[in-house]
């Protein structure tokens, strides 16, 4: 509970800082300095973290096998749950990263002690909502490229067109805005109300959820309620990416709040669990093929000085008894 409250207050404080600060003549800070610093921290931090993982060897090939291995030719292999070639492993990884394969397996314990039965029914809610959340986030992020690219590429306009296909209201409602909020709300609600998950939750679990929710809501407020001047915002954005930063007049405070929270997210990213974005690619139980009887996997720190207790020493220890029992020996007594 303390974690939940702390995280919530932290996000409220951050939002307030930007909303008030920008209004109090600090637009330069929130519109120019902070974004540059945040992007720098994000890129440097992310790369440093990945290099840190990469500089550590993976000593053993420890795939978690999720199906039938490659075996005798007449036995059908589960190629993508138990891959034995690099290509199959790439497919397994793609399914993991793009479709959340492992979460798709999720089950829910149902212990009916009074009936003497324990069940493990399929439970795809976490898979569905996290998939919804991640893909919405991706599309929302992609749509935002209309502010940072000049001219706006066709593909961005295309995504925008599809995303607003229902033509509800004006400005038209983006479907991903809805899915995004629904997804993140589900994850937050689950964290609060599922006792198991709530018990393991830390500030660092609530904080990104509140932060992302605040980003989504402030964005929605800007578009559908405040109707901010998007041309002015694009001028600011293009100023940033062209390294000729400007603070145009007529930018609503809500933009600075939204933008600042996004900057906080970028800067926070490399130091948090959000690094699962990079980490999922480096998970040795998923990114290695189960071919370790076919191809020798090399451990760079394998210590050749570790030898078995040798047969000779063994025989020295037991020679008399071995001879007596009629077991062959290398050296007679």
């Amino acid at each position: 509970m303390a974690g939940l409250v702390t995280a919530f207050l932290a996000v409220v404080a951050l939002a307030a800082v930007a909303a008030l600060g920008a209004g109090a003549g600090m637009a330069n800070v929130f519109g120019i300095a902070v974004p540059y610093v945040a992007v720098a921290i994000f890129v440097a931090g992310f790369i440093k973290k990945v290099i840190g993982w990469a500089s550590t060897p993976q000593p053993f090939s420890i795939a978690t096998t999720g199906g039938q291995q490659q075996s005798l030719p007449w036995i059908k292999q589960s190629k993508f749950d138990n891959p034995s070639t690099p290509f199959q492993t790439v497919v397994r990884m793609a399914l993991e990263v793009l479709c959340f394969r492992s979460l798709f397996r999720n089950t829910k314990l149902d212990n009916r002690a009074s009936e003497g039965r324990v069940g493990y029914g399929s439970d795809k809610s976490l898979w569905l909502f996290s998939l919804m959340f991640h893909y919405s986030f991706l599309i929302v992020l992609f749509r935002h490229m209309r502010f940072f690219l000049e001219p706006v590429p066709m593909v961005v306009t295309g995504v925008e067109f599809v995303d607003s296909i229902l033509q509800i209201a004006a400005p038209t409602l983006y479907l991903t805005d809805v899915f995004f909020v629904v997804g993140v709300s589900f994850l937050l609600a689950r964290r609060i109300w599922d006792p198991k998950v709530s018990y393991i939750s830390l500030v660092s679990d609530y904080f990104p959820l509140f932060l992302i929710l605040a980003i989504a809501l402030s964005g929605i407020y800007m578009r559908y309620f405040a109707k901010v001047d998007v041309i002015a915002i694009k001028q600011l954005a293009i100023g940033l990416v062209s390294f000729k930063p400007v603070i145009p007049p007529n930018i609503d405070w809500s933009f600075y709040m939204h933008f600042f929270l996004v900057c906080v997210l970028w800067a926070y990213f490399p130091f948090s669990k959000l690094m699962h974005l990079g980490g999922v690619f480096l998970s040795p139980t998923r990114n290695l093929p189960n071919n370790t009887r076919m191809v020798r996997y090399i451990n760079p720190w394998n210590d050749p000085s570790i030898k078995p207790h040798s047969y000779a020493d063994y025989e020295d220890d037991f020679r008399e008894k071995m001879i007596e029992a009629g077991l062959p020996v290398d050296k007679e007594a």
């Binding site: 324990v118 996290s130 980490g279």
Partner: protein
């Protein structure tokens, strides 16, 4: 066992979470939920630090004065050696998908048996000692400092994990608790916090060649005893050889198979099969252990014990190695052996002398699973099998954790089983194959003092067994793991009384029809075969 409540009671698990934070809940050691510590002389033999008499229920664990530095330095070292550890420490999002996948959590309701929280026991120290980001928020960020209570918690929960990897299957980032438990145990070993039921077998295996400490002459005696039994049952005198140089194949199986029921019946099955095929195979008392309790200790001992296999194969000049029915043995053989002790360039790619099948899936390790070998024989029609010798058996199949999630060995054993029994039915889908549940005794936890917790952890497996017992009349659970054969009979007696546990080759041995053989009246357990009661009338 006597003080264990009946299954109906034990099933009523309280899954509620305590009001206080998990960091404020101290572990409570009581008989039945922990394993006895390593004995000083065993530690001395193994050269492990801090040998002493100590007792987990007592306040003072007699840790070395500089234990904090040792653990910190050790942790730092492992973070440099294991990318798995580093990534798993960093990327968990605590989504909780793993929470209800652990058999110890399902059976105990203790939140620290949720794999995520088990890992947090280590992760909290990682954050507290090695990361900058968490230092600002302190305990709120889930970080903490090394205290003796932390070590006690580690001892409790990293020895309440059987490294079955079921959680790892469901984790969206593939976080593998077996890896975390393995490395946490490595850290604890550095300050003399360990359990005897792992270390004594390691010491035994190093000296005598097997976990049980069976010396060569005794091993031969036990083999002779089984050979005599086979003669009683089948009228055939099988003639296994030891240390025969120039043999084609070296056969290695867990020592549990020669030591106790029901493993010995599987062992007799191996002997019968080799005799039936007239296979050019030899045994070794030096490499008389397939299992590897070093893999529950640290990477050094895992490598050292495993190295005997190739060492002996080289000495004897065999062409390749066949391994018997075992679980963690095959995890080591499949995922670690070649890396640690390869390349086995002195061996040849295994080729069945009977069918000519080349086992390309083991072309580097040159070690195949006996069940692969047998499945190939059956597929090629090389075995005459009489299912009626196993009449009366309605079998189910227990997929062992390690061969399931560390190998993917599912259809081979089922194929063999279906060819030797008349009735076979699988347990429910969420409890078999890659989703299989542990017997509760893996990773060194099959010791007597841990029985209560093990039986609780056996709830999911036991309940699934009970289900098929009631619904389909299953009376036999077959498996390919020596730990299973030791653990599951107790589990079945408790959760599904009346179900027998067999190895796969016990059933193969029963069904094998030799040319010109005497008619069999009993199975390998020397129980009358159904339908031969007539023989009793003669008496």
């Amino acid at each position: 066992m006597s003080k264990m409540a009946p299954p109906e009671e034990v099933m009523k698990v309280d899954y509620s979470t305590p009001a206080e934070s998990w960091m404020d809940v101290k572990p409570e050691f009581k008989l039945g939920n922990y394993s006895y510590p390593g004995k000083p002389d065993v530690l001395k033999y193994l050269g492990l630090p801090n040998p002493r008499e100590w007792n987990p229920v007592e306040e003072d664990w007699k840790l070395p004065p500089d234990w904090r530095e040792i653990v910190r330095d050790g942790f730092r070292e492992l973070l440099k050696k294991y990318r798995s550890l580093k990534v798993f420490m960093d990327v968990c999002v605590r989504c909780g998908a793993c929470a209800d996948k652990c058999h110890f959590y399902i059976g105990s309701g203790d939140p620290k048996n949720m794999p995520v929280l088990r890992a947090e026991l280590l992760r909290s120290i990682y954050r507290g000692e090695f990361t900058v980001a968490a230092k600002i928020l302190g305990k709120l960020s889930g970080s903490r400092k090394l205290e003796e209570d932390v070590i006690k918690e580690w001892f409790m929960y990293f020895y309440q994990c059987t490294q079955c990897r079921r959680c790892s299957l469901y984790c969206p980032y593939g976080i593998d608790t077996a890896e975390i438990t393995f490395l946490a145990r490595d850290l604890m070993n550095r300050i003399g916090v360990n359990i005897n039921w792992i270390l004594e077998p390691v010491a035994n295996c190093n000296r005598t060649g097997n976990h049980l400490g069976i010396q060569p002459h005794a091993f031969k005696d036990m083999m002779d005893f089984l050979v005599d039994d086979i003669e009683t049952i089948t009228g055939r005198r099988v003639e296994p050889t030891f240390h025969r140089k120039g043999a084609e194949i070296l056969f290695i199986t867990p020592s549990g198979d020669i030591f106790a029921e029901p493993g010995i019946y599987t062992f007799m099955g191996y002997l019968l099969l080799f005799d039936y095929l007239d296979l050019d195979v030899t045994w070794s008392t030096y490499a008389s252990e397939g299992g590897n309790f070093g893999s529950f200790t640290n990477d050094k001992w895992m490598k050292k014990l495993n190295a005997k296999m190739y060492h002996e194969a080289k000495r004897l000049g065999v062409k390749y190695i066949i391994g018997g029915e075992c679980g963690h043995m095959w995890r080591v053989l499949n995922q670690f052996m070649d890396t640690m002790n390869g390349p086995a360039d002195f061996l040849e790619v295994p080729k069945s002398p009977i069918t000519g099948t080349v086992f390309n899936n083991a072309k580097s390790t040159k070690m195949i699973h006996l069940v692969e070998f047998t499945a190939d024989l059956i597929k090629n029609g090389k075995l005459k099998l009489d299912k009626s010798r196993n009449a009366g058996i309605t079998a189910t199949w227990h997929d062992s954790c390690n061969t399931s999630r560390g190998m993917g060995f599912f259809d081979e054993p089922r194929y063999v089983l279906e060819n030797v029994v008349e009735k076979f039915v699988d347990m429910p889908a969420q409890t078999i194959r890659e989703q299989t549940f542990c017997c509760g005794g893996g990773a060194g936890l099959n010791n007597g003092e841990f029985t209560e917790m093990r039986l609780r952890g056996g709830l999911p497996r036991g309940n699934a067994l009970r289900y098929v017992q009631e619904k389909f009349g299953v009376n036999t659970m077959s498996c390919i793991c020596a730990i299973d054969r030791a653990t599951l009979p107790g589990l079945a007696d408790y959760w599904a009384p009346g179900v027998k546990v067999t190895g796969l080759h016990e059933l193969v041995g029963n069904a094998l029809v030799f040319e010109g053989e005497e008619e069999r009246t009993m199975n390998l357990r020397q129980e009358d075969l159904p339908g031969v009661e007539g023989s009793e009338e003669d008496e």
